[in-house]
C-alpha cells in the first residue's frame, strides 16, 4: 500500500512538472499544408499504436518482474513452446501494420503528385547557401544566412531567429500550388521546411520535385537537412507566404532592384564605394571560408591576406573568383554575382587586411574578363 502511494505521488509529481514543460516543443507540429497535416496524423496514429503495444508488452514484463521472483519463492513453470500463441502474435502484428499502411499510402500518393501546379521555383543548393529561380518570372537570387558572426561567437545576444534568418527570403502567394524543383551545384543538400512537410534532397545532376500549397499567411523557417560540409548548420531557409496583392508588389520590387543592379554595373566606382560594397559582398559570399580577417582556416581554406593571388596579377585574381578552382571548395562566383559585386569584392580583397595594392577594379573589367 505504501509502495502504491509512493508510485502515485511520483506520477503526480511527473504530471505537475509536465505542465511546466508545456512551453517546450515535444511533438511534431501539424504544419500548414494538407500533407503536413497528413504526415502529422499518420505520425500520431503510429506513435499511439506503439504506445499501446508498449504498455501491454512492458506491463506483462513488469508484472512478471514483480510477481515471478525467486525471492518470493516463485517456482519456475515448465512450458517452453506454444504454437497457438506463436501464430497469434505473428498474425496480429500483420493486421496492425495493415491499418498503418493504408493511410500512409494515401498521404504519400498525395505528396508525390506534383501535377497542375500554379507556379514553379527552381531551388539550387550551394555550399552554403540556397539559390532560387522563379521559372518564367525572371526573378532569381541567392539566400544567405544573415545571423551576424558576433551572435554565433557569443559576442552578442542571440535574436529569436538565431540561425534561422536569411538576407533574401522566398516569397510566395497563398492558395497557390507551388512546385519546387531541386538540384545542387556541388554536394548533396536537403531543403526542409517542417511546417510544409517538404524535405527533398538537392542532388547534383538530378532534378527532384515536390510541392506545397497553404492558406495560412506567415513566415516559415527551415534548415538544410543533409550534411553538406563545414557550414551545413548555417544555411537556413525562410519562406514568406503572402497575399496575392503583396506578392504582386514583391515581384515588381524584385524587377526594380534587378534594374538598379544593371545600372550599377554600368557606372564607374570610387575606391570608397568599392571598399564599402565589397566588404558587404565578402561577408555574404566569402567570409564563411576565408574568415573575416582574411586568414582562412589553415590547411582547409587558404588565407587571402598577403596571398599570391590577392596581391599579384589582377587578371589572375579575377579569373579565380569568376571561374573558381576546379576540384576544390572554391566555387565559380561568375554566375552567382553581378559585375558590380564582383568588381567591388575583388577591389576589397586587394586592399583589405594589409593587401595595400591600391588596385581599383571596375565592373567593366569584369565584363571584359567574362
Amino acid at each position: 500500500m505504501r509502495a502504491a502511494i509512493r508510485v502515485a505521488s511520483f506520477i503526480s509529481l511527473m504530471l505537475v512538472s509536465m505542465q511546466s514543460w508545456a512551453e517546450y516543443q515535444l511533438d511534431l507540429r501539424p504544419g500548414v499544408t494538407s500533407f503536413s497535416q497528413g504526415a502529422y496524423e499518420i505520425h500520431t496514429l503510429v506513435m499511439w499504436i506503439c504506445v499501446v503495444i508498449g504498455i501491454i508488452v512492458f506491463g506483462v514484463m513488469i508484472y512478471s518482474i514483480i510477481m515471478h521472483r525467486k525471492s518470493r519463492g516463485y517456482e519456475a513453470a515448465k512450458f517452453d513452446d506454444n504454437l497457438t500463441v506463436e501464430i497469434v502474435w505473428t498474425v496480429i502484428p500483420f493486421i496492425i501494420l495493415g491499418f498503418m499502411a493504408v493511410p500512409a499510402t494515401k498521404v504519400l500518393l498525395d505528396m508525390e503528385d506534383v501535377s497542375n501546379s500554379d507556379m514553379s521555383i527552381k531551388v539550387t543548393g550551394y555550399q552554403w547557401k540556397w539559390h532560387y529561380d522563379y521559372l518564367g518570372e525572371d526573378i532569381s537570387f541567392f539566400s544567405n544566412l544573415s545571423t551576424p558572426m558576433e551572435e554565433i561567437q557569443n559576442k552578442a545576444t542571440k535574436n529569436p531567429n538565431y540561425l534561422l534568418e536569411v538576407d533574401n527570403r522566398v516569397v510566395v502567394p497563398i492558395n497557390k500550388k507551388i512546385r519546387l524543383l531541386f538540384t545542387s551545384n556541388d554536394v548533396i543538400h536537403a531543403w526542409w521546411i517542417p511546417a510544409f512537410a517538404v524535405k527533398k534532397d538537392a542532388i547534383p545532376g538530378y532534378i527532384n520535385e515536390s510541392w506545397f500549397k497553404t492558406d495560412k499567411i506567415g513566415t516559415y523557417r527551415g534548415q538544410c537537412a543533409e550534411l553538406c560540409g563545414t557550414n551545413h548548420g548555417f544555411m537556413p531557409i525562410v519562406v514568406d507566404v503572402v497575399s496575392e496583392a503583396d506578392y504582386a508588389t514583391w515581384v515588381a520590387s524584385q524587377k526594380d532592384s534587378a534594374a538598379a543592379a544593371e545600372a550599377s554595373s554600368n557606372k564607374t566606382w570610387t575606391m570608397d564605394e568599392s571598399m564599402e560594397h565589397g566588404k558587404a559582398v565578402y561577408a555574404t559570399s566569402c567570409l564563411a571560408c576565408h574568415q573575416a580577417n582574411g586568414a582562412g582556416i589553415p590547411n582547409v581554406f587558404p588565407g587571402l591576406a598577403g596571398s599570391a593571388i590577392a596581391i599579384g596579377d589582377v587578371s589572375k585574381h579575377i579569373d579565380v573568383v569568376v571561374n573558381g578552382v576546379s576540384a576544390t571548395a572554391m566555387q565559380a562566383f561568375g554566375p552567382q554575382l553581378n559585375d558590380a559585386d564582383l568588381a567591388a569584392l575583388i577591389t576589397y580583397e586587394r586592399n583589405a587586411w594589409g593587401n595595400n595594392t591600391g588596385d581599383l577594379v571596375q565592373p567593366a573589367d569584369i565584363k571584359a574578363a567574362r
Binding site: A77, D81, M111, Q153
Partner: protein, 532 residues
C-alpha cells in the same frame, strides 16, 4: 610434431609467455580477449569524441570547436563506434564463446584468426592518425559523416579520405575473415549430437550474422574502391559532371549499411536469449521460432536498404515497396520480444547484473524498434529524416541495444573467463547509473528531432536549447559511468578481493560452456563432449 603432442599431454597452463603470447596467438581465448580489450579501448576513444560533441552542443553558439572540427568529431565517433567497438566486441565474444558452446577445441582457422585481429589496430591506427594530424594542424580528418555520402567524400573530401578508404578496406578484410572462421567452426566443429536445432541461440545468431558479413562487407569494399578510383584515377562513378550518379553511392552504401545494422544487433539478440532463460530458470520460449525469426530478419535486411533514402526522390512505387518491406521487419522482431517476455513469464527470476542489462535491453531496444517502425512510414519519415529523431532511434538500438547486450555478456561470462566473480554491487551501480543517464541522454533527442532540429549541426536555435542541455548532462554521466565497468573488470581479473566462481557460475545456467572449469582452461574440449 611429436614434441608438440608431448607438450600438450597435460592441458593445463602451457601458455606461451611474454608479448609473443599475444602477437603470435592462435588461441581462441587469447584472441577473444584481445578483441574485447581493443573494443573497450575504442569505446573510450569514441566516447571521448561523443563528449566533445555534447560539450559543443550544451549551449547555442560556438564554444569549443569550429564547425569543421565538429564534422570530424561526428564522423570519427560514428566510424569508431560502429567498426571499432560493436563489431570487434561481437567477434571477441564469438571467439571466446562459440568453441566453448559447441564443444570445439578452438576456432577452425586459428592462424587466420590471429591475422583478422591484428589487422584492426593497423586499420584504426590509420584512421585515428588522420585525426591526430588534424589536431596538429595538418589538414582535415574525414569530415563527411560515417555514411560518407558522395560527392562530399569524393570530389570534396579532404586528403585524409584516402587514409579512411584504406582503413575501411582493412576493417573489411578483418571482418570477412572473422566471419569465414566462425562459419567454418560452427559447420565443422560441433560436438557429436549437437544438431543445428540444438545449438545455443547465441551460436545461431552469430552463424546468421557471419553470413550477413560475408554478403555485405565486399559491397562496402566495393563502394570505397569506387571512391578511391573517383578520387585518384579519374573515374566518375559518383560524379554527375562525369556522367556518374551520386545516388548510386547511397544505394551501394545502404545495401551494405542496412544488413550492417543487423550485424550489430543479431549477436546481442543471441546474448539476451542466453541470459534471460538462465536467470528465469526456465528454457527459452519458442526456440525454433527464435531461429526462424532471426533468419527472417536477416533475409528482410537485404530488401529494405532504400528506406534510408526516402528523400532522394525515388519513384513513388519504389517508396511504397521499401515502406511495406520495412514495416514487415516489425513482425519477426516482435516475435523475438514476445518470446523473451514469455520466457520470463512464470519463471523464477533473479536480478544479477547480466539479467538487469538484459531486461533493460528488452525495454529500451523495443523503444528503438517502435521509432524504427515510425521511421518506416514514408510521409512521416519526410519529417523525421536527418533530424535528431533518427539520432535518438539509432542510439536506442545501438547503445541500449547492441552495447547493452555486450555489457550483459561481459558480466554473464567474465566469471567463466577469469575464474572470479565480478563485484555484484559495482555491477549494479554501473547498471543503474548507466540506465538512468542513457535515457536522460537519448530520450530528449526525440523531442528536439520532432521539433525540427537537423542532425550533424554544431549550433542551433534557442528553441532546442533546454533538451540539448539535458542530453549533454546525461552524456557526461553515462560516459563516466563506464569507468565503473573498467574498474570492475580489472578488479575481477586480478581476483584479489573477489570470490572464486564455481564451474556452473549461475544456478540456472545450461550449456557446454558451464561444464568446463572456471576459468576455462587454455585448451578446452580436446576430446569432444557428447550432446544428448
Amino acid at each position: 610434431m611429436s614434441a608438440v603432442i608431448e607438450e600438450h599431454h597435460d592441458d593445463h597452463d602451457h601458455k606461451p609467455t611474454g608479448i609473443g603470447r599475444w602477437l603470435f596467438s592462435t588461441n581462441h581465448k587469447d584472441i577473444g580477449t584481445m578483441y574485447l580489450w581493443f573494443s573497450f579501448t575504442m569505446l573510450f576513444i569514441g566516447g571521448t569524441l561523443a563528449l566533445v560533441i555534447r560539450a559543443e552542443l550544451f549551449q547555442p553558439g560556438l564554444q569549443f570547436i569550429d564547425p569543421e572540427m565538429f564534422n570530424q568529431m561526428t564522423t570519427l565517433h560514428g566510424l569508431i563506434m560502429v567498426f571499432g567497438v560493436i563489431m570487434p566486441a561481437f567477434v571477441g565474444l564469438a571467439n571466446w564463446m562459440v568453441p566453448l558452446m559447441i564443444g570445439a577445441p578452438d576456432m577452425a582457422l586459428p592462424r587466420m584468426n590471429n591475422w583478422s585481429f591484428w589487422l584492426l589496430p593497423g586499420a584504426f591506427g590509420l584512421l585515428i592518425a588522420s585525426l591526430i594530424m588534424s589536431l596538429m594542424g595538418m589538414g582535415s580528418a574525414p569530415n563527411f559523416g560515417w555514411t560518407f555520402y558522395a560527392p562530399l567524400s569524393t570530389t570534396y573530401g579532404p586528403d585524409s579520405t584516402d587514409f579512411f578508404i584504406f582503413s575501411v578496406h582493412m576493417m573489411g578484410i578483418s571482418s570477412i575473415m572473422g566471419a569465414i572462421n566462425i562459419i567454418a567452426t560452427i559447420i565443422n566443429m560441433r560436438a557429436p549430437g549437437m544438431t543445428y536445432m540444438k545449438m545455443p541461440i547465441f551460436v545461431w545468431t552469430w552463424f546468421i550474422t557471419a553470413y550477413l558479413l560475408i554478403a555485405v562487407m565486399p559491397v562496402l569494399a566495393g563502394v570505397v574502391t569506387m571512391m578511391l578510383t573517383d578520387r585518384n584515377f579519374g573515374t566518375s562513378f559518383f560524379s554527375a559532371a562525369g556522367g556518374g550518379d551520386p545516388v548510386l553511392f547511397q544505394h551501394v552504401f545502404w545495401f551494405f549499411g542496412h544488413p550492417e545494422v543487423y550485424i550489430m544487433i543479431l549477436p546481442s539478440f543471441g546474448i539476451i536469449s542466453q541470459i534471460v532463460p538462465t536467470f528465469s530458470r526456465k528454457k527459452i520460449f519458442g526456440y525454433s521460432s527464435m531461429v526462424y525469426a532471426t533468419s527472417s530478419i536477416a533475409f528482410l535486411s537485404f530488401i529494405v536498404w532504400a528506406h534510408h533514402m526516402f528523400t532522394t526522390g525515388m519513384p513513388v512505387a519504389t517508396e511504397l515497396f521499401f515502406m511495406y518491406a520495412t514495416m514487415l521487419i516489425a513482425v519477426p522482431t516482435g516475435v523475438k520480444v514476445f518470446n523473451w517476455v514469455s520466457t520470463m513469464w512464470q519463471g523464477s527470476l533473479t536480478f544479477e547484473t547480466p539479467m538487469l542489462f538484459a531486461i533493460a535491453f528488452i525495454f529500451l531496444f523495443t523503444i528503438g524498434g517502435f521509432t524504427g517502425l515510425m521511421l518506416a512510414i514514408v510521409p512521416a519519415d519526410f519529417q523525421y529524416h536527418d533530424t535528431y529523431f533518427v539520432v535518438a532511434h539509432f542510439h536506442y538500438v545501438l547503445v541500449t541495444g547492441a552495447l547493452y547486450g555486450i555489457f550483459a555478456a561481459v558480466y554473464f561470462w567474465i566469471p567463466k573467463w577469469t575464474g572470479n566473480m565480478y563485484d555484484e554491487s559495482l555491477g549494479k551501480w554501473h547498471f543503474w547509473v548507466s540506465t538512468i543517464s542513457v535515457n536522460v541522454l537519448f530520450f530528449p533527442m526525440h523531442f528536439v528531432g520532432l521539433a525540427g532540429m537537423p542532425r550533424r549541426i554544431p549550433d542551433y536555435n534557442m528553441q532546442f536549447a533546454e533538451f540539448n542541455q539535458i542530453a549533454s548532462i546525461g552524456a557526461f554521466v553515462f560516459g563516466f559511468a563506464q569507468l565503473i565497468l573498467l574498474y570492475n573488470v580489472i578488479k575481477t581479473i586480478r581476483g584479489k578481493s573477489t570470490e572464486k566462481a564455481t564451474d556452473q557460475v549461475w544456478e540456472g545456467a545450461e550449456g557446454l560452456e558451464w561444464t568446463l572449469p572456471s576459468p576455462a582452461p587454455f585448451h578446452s574440449f580436446t576430446t569432444p563432449p557428447t550432446v544428448k
